[in-house]
């Protein structure tokens, strides 16, 4: 039989290696569906790699794809650290984008150095406020935040559709349900000519750094970690658990809201109801691959973005359905979950004892 023995200390190299192994395992497992779909496996991996890293342009696409994932990954990792199960990053992204559009499409005209902080602030407030609702429902009324955040995603998406077909619809949009374009002052500039990578990436990296410092060096970080470890112990130690949850909810929602402004003001220039192909949900995978560490989130987001960008180009070249990317992402989540087991436990294979009393209880 198999026995789990708790590990007391985990070497950081080991803790770093496991998610990498998990990600690679998921990529290798993708060979099965690729082969089942009639694709040539080695050629497919070649296309994936070339599609993600093959050229300067490809790499820029990859970083543009990684940017929203860094934000949502950070949002999830902060929340999960406190065991606040925020699965609503998708909805928070959309309200963030909506707020950015409300402020940045001409309602206010000001120079860029005012507009950009303004739209960023608006999206953070919107995302944070949206997450405040399930957080308060949890702390005040005891309603499970997993379900409420998940359900709010659908509500928000419908609300965005409503706004884009109604008051916020672009009159010049040829009838498409899309917002007016962001004014040039409210646009995050591109970093290089003719590439889609934009300054949202820098904001994402700075956010990761700030969250890293907050979690490691501040009282808030300590309170968040303590609440996540053991709520009742934290309460006993005098940590204000309720206000910690509220803080975490606000920070987490604000981070997801940033993903929205970055997509709207950096990449697309206007808002549509399909601006996010599930960045919020993928953020959960990013955060788990990162072991909830803010620096890890950056690495994990780049990995997941590589899978998406690479799989897209492989799909175009070989005709294997691009849902393969979602499959790899889902499998990496499951693989990294399993690998967590190796962090927490030493796994020993031991021969079962032959005493009849014990043998009866074996399963």
């Amino acid at each position: 039989m198999i026995r789990f023995e708790p590990r007391s200390n985990v070497s950081s190299l080991f803790a770093f290696a496991l998610p990498v192994i998990a990600g690679i395992t998921a990529l290798v497992l993708a060979a099965i569906p690729i082969a089942a779909a009639g694709g040539e496996v080695f050629a497919a991996y070649g296309h994936i790699f070339k599609g993600a890293f093959g050229s300067k342009f490809a790499f820029s696409e990859l970083l543009a794809r990684a940017t929203p994932l860094i934000f949502t990954g950070l949002a999830v990792s902060v929340a999960f650290r406190a065991k606040l199960w925020n699965i609503g990053a998708e909805g928070q992204l959309y309200v963030g984008a909506l707020a950015a559009v409300a402020v940045g499409t001409g309602a206010i005209s000001a120079p860029a150095y005012i507009m950009i902080p303004l739209i960023i602030l608006a999206s953070m407030i919107a995302g944070g406020t949206l997450m405040l609702v399930p957080t308060l429902l949890k702390t005040k009324l005891g309603a499970d935040e997993v379900v409420t955040t998940l359900l709010l995603n659908f509500v928000v998406l419908l609300f965005v559709q409503m706004m884009l077909e109604g008051p916020m619809k672009d009159p010049m949009g040829m009838g498409w349900p899309q917002s007016e374009p962001m004014t040039s002052a409210a646009t995050l500039p591109k970093m290089f000519a003719r590439m889609r990578i934009h300054w949202g990436l820098v904001i994402a990296l700075v956010s990761a750094l700030i969250i890293y410092i907050m979690m490691k060096r501040s009282v808030w970080g300590f309170e968040i970690r303590a609440t996540g470890e053991n709520v009742s112990a934290a309460k006993h130690a005098g940590i204000p658990v309720t206000s910690t949850f509220i803080k975490v909810g606000l920070i987490s929602g604000a981070l997801a809201g940033l993903a929205g402004v970055s997509e709207v003001a950096g990449l697309k220039g206007y808002l549509t109801a399909d601006i996010s192909p599930g960045f919020g949900y993928t953020g959960v995978v990013v955060a788990m691959l990162a072991g909830l560490s803010p620096v890890g989130v950056v690495v994990a987001a780049i990995f997941i973005a590589a899978v998406f960008v690479g799989a897209d180009s492989m799909s175009r070249a070989m005709g294997v359905s691009s849902y393969i990317a979602d499959l790899v992402v889902a499998m990496s989540l499951i693989c990294v979950l399993i690998s967590n087991l190796f962090v927490r436990f030493k796994i020993r294979f031991v021969r079962p004892k032959k005493t009849p009393l014990v043998a009866k209880g074996e399963a």
Binding site: F4, P33, A36, A37, W85, I87, L137, L141, G142, A143, D144, V146, V147, T148, L150, L151, L152, N153, F154, V155, L158, F159, Q161, M162, E165, G166, Y281, V284, V285, M288, G319, V320, S321, Y323, I324, D326, L327, V329, A330, M331, L333, I334, L337, I338, N340, L341, K360, G361, A363
Partner: protein, 313 residues
């Protein structure tokens, strides 16, 4: 006055029951898992799998009841996966469930796209037809509302009876309820906590998959991407509302179906004034309200979310 007319029409109640049917399967499935102490957030993905596999099996010529069987087996398979991850391995039920949802959804979509790479409109199957029961279907009011549903609705109702019989009238049910409340007591009886929990998750997941299959094999006759649209999550909220009881689960699903059917009819009445999205939000908001209403006094199975390791404590 018109609103009363809506409530009094047989058509309305027929729609309410039709909308409730997949939720009955889903809430029952979630209930069985949670009664055994395991939250199954794989539900949303398992709905997709059930919808896709059931439809695909029929499309390939397995027959409608063959499709039901395939859907249930596919659901049980993903349940087994969730069971292995959360029971013997004791991993986070939240994250594992989300992983199962993502995995099951992407497997379904990938399989569908691979089998049907270039279809402009989704192929249709000969779905379950409303029954025509002699005498009963011709009764005034009750006939069209209740007895002109498809066989799958009656299967769902039968499952309510079956689940409540097994849970409350058999030793197996007692063991399942006990394993969700106090697993060490079950272990002390010489029963296997692992086997009971994994078995319950598989059975519950099979039920969830039937909820999905209803959508492609009875409500519609084709598979669409995104057709589940949060129905699974709604079931997770409703199971709390139903305080983990099969009878109340049926009631909750029917109540929800009635609200939803009413909302659709209201949309026809005042649709011009109010954007349709407002109405479409109602089911999700309603689920949140239902959850909040009972959250304070909800009597969660005591060992829910807690992994059990033998010899612990």
């Amino acid at each position: 006055m018109e609103y009363i007319d809506i409530l009094l029409s047989a058509n309305f109640w027929a729609a309410a029951i039709r909308i409730a049917t997949p939720l009955i399967f889903g809430v029952l499935g979630a209930l069985v898992c949670e009664r055994a102490g395991v939250l199954n957030l794989g539900i949303e993905g398992i709905f997709v799998v059930g919808a896709m596999c059931g439809w695909m099996a029929v499309w390939l010529g397995a027959g409608l009841w063959g499709g039901i069987l395939v859907a249930a087996l596919a659901g049980a398979f993903f349940g087994l996966l969730h069971g292995i991850l959360t029971v013997p391995l004791g991993l986070s039920q939240h994250v594992s469930g989300l992983g199962i949802t993502m995995f099951a959804t992407s497997v379904s979509y990938f399989t569908y796209r691979t089998a049907l790479p270039k279809v402009s409109s989704p192929p249709r199957i000969e779905a379950f037809q409303p029954l025509d029961i002699p005498v009963l279907s011709d009764l005034p009011f009750i006939g069209p509302a209740l007895f002109q549903q498809t066989s799958m609705t009656f299967l769902a109702l039968a499952m309510v009876l079956l689940v409540s019989y097994v849970l409350y009238r058999t030793p197996l049910g007692l063991a399942i309820r006990a394993v969700g409340d106090n697993p060490s007591a079950v272990e002390a009886q010489g029963l296997s906590v692992f086997a009971l929990r994994i078995g319950a998750i598989m059975a519950g997941s099979a039920l969830m998959a039937l909820g999905g299959a209803f959508l492609t094999m009875s409500a519609f006759d084709a598979f669409f991407f995104g057709m589940i649209n949060g129905r699974g999550w709604i079931c997770i909220a409703l199971v709390v509302f139903a305080s983990w009881r099969p009878g109340k689960a049926l009631l909750g699903a029917l109540l929800f179906g009635a609200f939803d059917a009413f909302q659709i009819r209201l949309q026809n009445e005042v649709g011009a004034v109010i954007p349709s999205q407002v109405f479409l939000m109602i089911p999700y908001l309603l689920s949140i309200v239902a959850l909040v209403l009972v959250a304070r006094k909800a009597d969660y199975p005591r060992a829910l979310l807690q992994p059990y390791f033998r010899g612990q404590r």
